[in-house]
Amino acid sequence: MKKCILVIDDSDQSDVLENLALDAEDKGIELEWFQFNVGGRLEPTLLTAEGKIDTEKVKEEFKKRFGGKTFQLIACDWELNANDIDGVTLLRRIGRACYLEDTPRMMYSGLLNQKLLDALKRAESGKLKNDDFVQYIKNLVNAHYVDFVDRDDLSKTILRHLEDDESLGLIILETLKSMPEMVFATTHDHNLEGKTFKEVAELFEKEKRVRNDLKRNIVQEVIYFLTHKQGKKRI
């Protein structure tokens, strides 16, 4: 089983990821990993002159390096060594532009518990306004991440996730990308007819409607196929 993950961190995580790949191998997973160092000294071109994260550059660089890839998981450090932006915010800002909406995401931090307790204390003492505290918690709750983990638990959490079910959308996307030259001959959705898998994959990433329709159609086709002896394959 082949899997591909991306880790976004401000410091080099290659040791951790290499370790992870070896552990994954023991579980029968062939893990390809990438890291994207944002916020730290390792990628100075992604920073502004003031040392802050330049989101536009990050988007650009992300597309350039990872545009064609499908990840089963993106793990992101919560603290990116930048006072203005954390991992949650970064993913929110680049998520749509980089078609990460369907990709499961994981947030980790070396100081998760500490940060939450600090925020709570600051809210209790009135240093943090109620509204800001609410927003702080809300961002965490509403970001739809697959997990929040302590940095110490990162490897095993990623591994556990890789062993779990995969999202249908990702399987489809991966399949489309793996055979870019093939062409959609007939589908329920006439807009996709005649398009190559590559073109469909692009639409699939960009347009929620296409994504949902194709997923539904494929499921319907499969159910038809599975329930009819002479299932007529139409896709």
């Binding site: 040791d15 290499e18 370790n19 730290g40 000294r41 040392g51 709750v141």
Partner: protein, 822 residues
Amino acid sequence: MNNKVHFKTNILLKNIIGKDLITDDNVAVLELVKNSYDAGSKVVEIRFGNVVQNNDFEVDMPDSQSSRIVICDQGCGMDYDGLVNKWLNIAYSEKKENNRLNGRRQAGNKGVGRFSCDRLGKTLTILTKMAGHPCLRLTIDWRMFENENAQNEEIQDVTFDVQEVTDQEARHIIGCPSFEHGTVLDIGLLRERWTPEKIIRLRRDLEKFIDPNSVFVTDSFQIELLAEEYKGYDQEQAYETQCVNGPVRNKIFEQLDFRTTSISSYIDRDGKFIITNLQDRGREVFELKEKNIYPHLRNVKMMVYYLNPYSKRYFRQQTGFSSSDFGSIFLFINGFRIPPYGDQGDDWLGIEKRKSLGFRRYLSTREVVGRVEINDEKDDFMIISSRTGVVNNNAFIELSKEGAPYGFFYKGFRRLERFVVEGIAWDKTLEKVSEDGIGEEKYLIDDFSRDKRILSVIRKIIDVDESNIDYLHINEEFVREILDAQMAQTTANLEGVVNELANLASNADPEAVEAFKEKLQGDAEEMNKLLTVVGRLAPESTEINKLSRLLTEVEKTKQEAEDKEHLLEYEREARLKAEQEKEDLEKRLALEKEKNTYLLTSSRSMSEDAKGMVHNIKIIANSLHAKISLLYKKVRKDRITKDEQLKSLSQMLFQIDKALKISKLITRANFKADSEDKMVDVVAYISQYLDIYSEIMEDANIEIVKNIKGITFVRKVSVLDFAVIFDNLISNAQKANATKVLVDASKTDDKLTLMVSDDGDGLDERFVGMEESIFELGVTSTDGSGIGLNTVRSVLNDMGGNIAYIGSGKIMKGATFKIELS
């Protein structure tokens, strides 16, 4: 044998066309009243004499003590020819030849009305006088035609005497001061006993016989009942309508106009158009002119009043009897009623049959009164000789058909029905209505809602193709009242909501806003409905623009309310979530506290510096953990080369050096170990670090000279990395016996160059000619205990920099290294 034969008219024919044909006393009286009307009389008196006490059983022919009904008119009367050749001529009717006589449309036309007298009494004395002619008297004893054994006796075999009487004699008989012209029917030896109740029933029938609208408005005709014997009875009655004596009036419909909902529909004289008018509580709702689709109907009018419980109560108050006793829909042809149509229990239009089919929302005869008036100039309607109904011909079918295509009556009746059922919601009156007449009319829905509902269903009520409509006029005042009321209500609501919204607290319940929103939504919907309806029905109404503007205002406020609601909802949700989070955190904290009070306490008491140090140590430890773990796995799996092992180990050393560096730097006031990478002025930092170098490095015995003034180079770097790099370079210098290290900084094109040279022995001879190899992995220029220049280069490369060996004796006599950062 005579070849020519003919019918013989047996004397018993009189019974057939007389008392057997006219089966109802009241119908008989009406027939006679009709004759008076046809004769042009303006008044007809019906006098009852000796109906309580009489000598009927003692005498053969009536005298002054015998029971009698005297019907006395002031019509044109008859001369001898009229009396003998027309009146006595059975079935002869001038009216058949000429239906307008004496300035009036003739009500009767069968020529048998005169036999009604037979129905009423055993004898008849006619006194008749035409102006300028002598008064004639004729007495008929009907019993003379009743000999059933007289098989061969023909009707004309019975003869009577016609006598002339003087005017004075006539006045004496009639009991009137003058008798210029007219006819008096003195019916004697009455066949029935006329009790007060029976006479009152006659009165009611007569009231109904008289079409209150079409005939007598312009052409007065008064019927008066007189019964001396019942005057005492009358004095005991509470209502005029319960009295025997007095004129017959029919004002019920006029009064109902102000109390009820009614529809009138009229087919014009030419039969081209139907004009329909719907009134609600004395106010016109609409008038509709549409094409007439009934070829056999012209000059026909129908009028139906819907009686709600209040109207019924009013009816009872006014008349003394219930509306259902009164009857339902009466038919008038040429001004006179056709019985029994409309009588209680009669269902000539099939209203009850239709209702009994189970349609709850149909009106029944108990809920309506009304009439159909026909001015039948062309004898399209044929009245049955017995005076009980009309022949079921095409005209009658077009009038009365129940079922598609509906007849004229139902066209109007169903509109009223729809109006009542859908417009004014008939079931919305209070169920219990007191019969005592005390108390206001109370409805479950207010007048405004009622009017709006009416307006909204007008189209549905009318239910006719656009192409058939000539014009439709909706009462402008009615429309304006509704729009004004709507605007007043909405404006009040709007002001209230705007105020409430402005004063709403930030933590208010979103449901509170929901209520405002619903109120505005309701108003907006109502206004939209009204605009649609009014725009279609009364597009010229000036109120439309005002209403539209108000609607925009309402929509705007509604949007504001919606935004506010969303905001409050969002805030509430956030509050709840935060509360939940807080609760969870508190629980966890409490749990942790129980589990490990000591750790928690020390965590709380840690300084910011300590926290930063812990963080850094954690990063380093994690890094070391990963590296060692990886090394372990790779070695175990035999997947690592010697070079890789060395690289890994030197990286570990570097990390350990960093950890040691933290322990040394942490005491410095200007060192903040809160994060690894920081935006710093690299030159200033190095300068400061070199200043304290001898203090923190216990065995340092070396002079460090800086030449770096006036240069600023701000980058995000790991300050610890720099410290360790300089430690390494200085340590190497010391190992080469240097006593002095010179650091020279320069900056060109945004690139920082640091030249580090010493006065030591320079590079070991082994490296001469292959100086670059000192940066190779595993190579050591000294005793091999340090992290190695390979790691130094690798760290600098990671931060976008580089290090190169320049040579020995270049600046000072020892080795010189050039560090570049961009």
